[in-house]
Assembly symmetry: C2
Homo-oligomer: 405 residues x 2
């Protein structure tokens, strides 16, 4: 009986470790492989033989690891060179995998990781190497094509929705309120910012405006919209994606947020800080707050979606099953069969197709004004944030376990 | 049978509404007052007769209100003028209270609210007005004297500890990590930043350094400390209070963080942004991230401490009992009777003493180097974050109810 290895790559999410545990537990049941190895720090660590035996870790530790945010096997941002230009890395990697008697390689990641899976699978096929390469999707950005959504996104959306609701309440306590701007991640796509439409009070969305990279940002229209809403209701709550851009495709955060400190450093203040300043400049209020959620939105396990955790777990489990069927060069996707009741399955798609594509937020889910999303978007998001995990606690904080410390 | 009124003032917390519900429910049991009125937007709203009858609100709505963050009756930052200079406001207020047949006035707030309670109580005594004035403490800053701690602080500490743990994991995934700086609130005192010492992984605090306003900040020592730790372990995790200052008492955020944008606006980048820039300037790493928790730390009910919620509730309940005993000009305090098992009671203290004092983080709980806290501090914090509330959900986000919309 041979072994397999699983590793993580790219930016962390709250649920990336659940995919590892899903695969590990499926192997305990199916006994497809003798050992499940964990590659620390992705391809980069594996090339340094930084490999641990996950099969021998205690069940208790694995249970904590399953509900630990961020990449508990460590990560990397390492892209394999093109095979035509350099085959050395490929040879080194295959040599190491053979050394450990590994016949299946699983990579949990986004576009770049799927590129790695596609390249390695092609190399193995061309050289008659009996190792299969399977990708497991992961990204809070939700921008992978050929999958309804990505593990990691639902938990980020739940955190964004929850904190939008809470900061809206915080921003609404005075007789004279001001303007609050919440900035989400999403450099290229608006999925994260759009997900804030799920935050409602008495059935009504708390956000007045939502700005996405997919709708060209117009400063004049923005200021008119905000001023008018402020005059009507004495407060305005705005959600903005870090990646909004103007009609010529230039990032707002690049060409306008730059200022210099006294040392001459160029500062990127973030797009919310830029919007804060142009509102102040317009002069209709002096009360403007901006808040960047930053990395909190990708690591807040304490506010994770159990649906997301379960799907990440199942994607890992399915990857093992597909490997045992001899598949390679594929990614496990999530396919939404039904919205109510919410139901999904996990078909395979080509890793190469995923690697070279970006899934944008649908234009038809953005209102005509370009400053909010439609009810269809809200229906898409709502099932993804269902239920909360039952976390283990230690001294009243979540008990987390990682392997890369 | 006469009536009473309760109102909220100052910055919001996660648990300020629990104090209102504690008082309301105590009155349902004890029937001290016929009606419990809610003053919307504190003194400012009451002076505009912005008053609702909380006794007639459904139990279901009150239950949701209890677990809703931020000031659900609205707030104000309104300080009564000194009686000597102007008695008009006092007369107007008493007239309105008499109109509603109110004989007890409860104010949930911090120093300024206790100043209001002291002034109104004095005015009532001097003029033989049979209305009692009782304060209920509230502030995430934990800087009120004559109370072991303040309602609101435990939940803020729990959120800070939880997110410190999670962002630490997020900042530790690569082979080459960098420096992460988490900025908490606390303009004058270090309680919030210090509370991050409770965040531990495998029993060891995740923070390398904690900087508080109570320990003079030295830029040269800071850079030496961070550089040395970075060379040892390839990553450094720093907690900093927004209010740190140098040996001459000047705020670091005031004299060094200022830069100007292209419109000439002065920007206060926050102290974490300043630290990020001086580390970059020192040149030993290019990977430095700074994150301000901002208002999240005072409104994150989804991560609240149940101990904190219960104590806020009990403080409201005790306020009603003390009023029925004829007390006035006092604040309900929290007195820690025992740490293990954790036990408190709620004695009265003079509102005036609280109003004119600030409780600093104890110097003896700061290490000699001025860059961390002692185990005694950790023991003080740990009981305050116990247990999580059982929140009601609606469409998988917390169901919140406020009265000031």
């Amino acid at each position: 009986m041979s072994n397999c290895i699983i590793a993580q790559s790219g930016g962390p999410t709250a649920v990336i470790n659940s995919s590892v545990v899903g695969l590990l537990n499926a192997n305990k049941e199916l006994k497809t492989f003798e050992k499940v190895y964990g590659g620390l720090n992705g391809i980069e660590g594996i090339l340094n033989r930084n490999i641990i035996d996950l099969s021998s870790v205690s069940e208790n530790e694995i249970d904590n690891f399953r509900f630990t945010p961020s990449s508990g096997l460590g990560s990397c941002r390492y892209k394999l060179k093109d095979l035509d230009s350099c085959s050395e890395e490929y040879e080194s990697l295959i040599e190491i995998l053979r050394e450990y008697d590994i016949t299946s390689f699983f990579y949990v990641g986004g576009n770049d990781s799927m590129d790695t899976i596609a390249k390695l699978s092609r190399y193995a096929k061309q050289n008659d190497i009996g190792i299969s390469f399977i990708g497991i999707p992961k990204t809070i950005d939700n921008d992978l094509k050929f999958t309804d959504h990505t593990p990691g996104f639902g938990s980020a959306a739940k955190f964004i929705g929850t904190t939008a609701l809470e900061t809206y309440l915080d921003a609404s306590v005075y007789i004279n309120n001001g303007i609050f701007i919440l900035e989400t991640m999403g450099r290229d796509t608006g999925w994260l910012a759009a997900s804030a439409c799920i935050a409602k009070l008495d059935g009504k969305p708390i956000a007045d405006f939502i700005y996405l990279p997919e709708a060209a940002f117009d400063k004049i229209k923005f200021l008119n919209d905000v001023r008018q809403r402020f005059e009507e209701q004495n407060k305005v709550y705005i959600i903005v994606s870090e990646g909004i851009r103007d009609k010529d495709g230039r990032f707002i955060s690049e060409f306008d947020c730059v200022s210099q400190d006294k040392f001459g450093h160029v500062q990127l203040g973030g797009v919310s800080e830029y919007l804060r300043r142009i509102i102040l400049d317009a002069g209709f209020t002096t009360r403007v707050k901006a808040l960047q959620l930053g990395v909190l939105q990708r690591c807040a396990m304490h506010c994770a979606s159990d649906t997301d955790l379960t799907e990440a777990y199942n994607a890992g489990k399915m990857a093992l099953q597909y490997a045992s069927q001899g598949e390679s060069g594929k990614m496990v996707s999530i396919n939404r069969l039904s919205n109510e009741p919410y139901e999904v399955n996990y078909p395979l798609v080509n890793a190469e197709d995923v690697a070279n594509n970006v899934k944008y937020f649908p234009i038809e889910w953005i209102n005509k004004e370009g400053n909010f999303v439609t009810p269809e978007a809200c229906s898409y998001f709502e099932p993804l944030i269902k239920d909360s995990p039952n976390l283990a606690f230690e001294r009243n904080l979540p008990k987390y376990k990682v392997f890369n410390q």
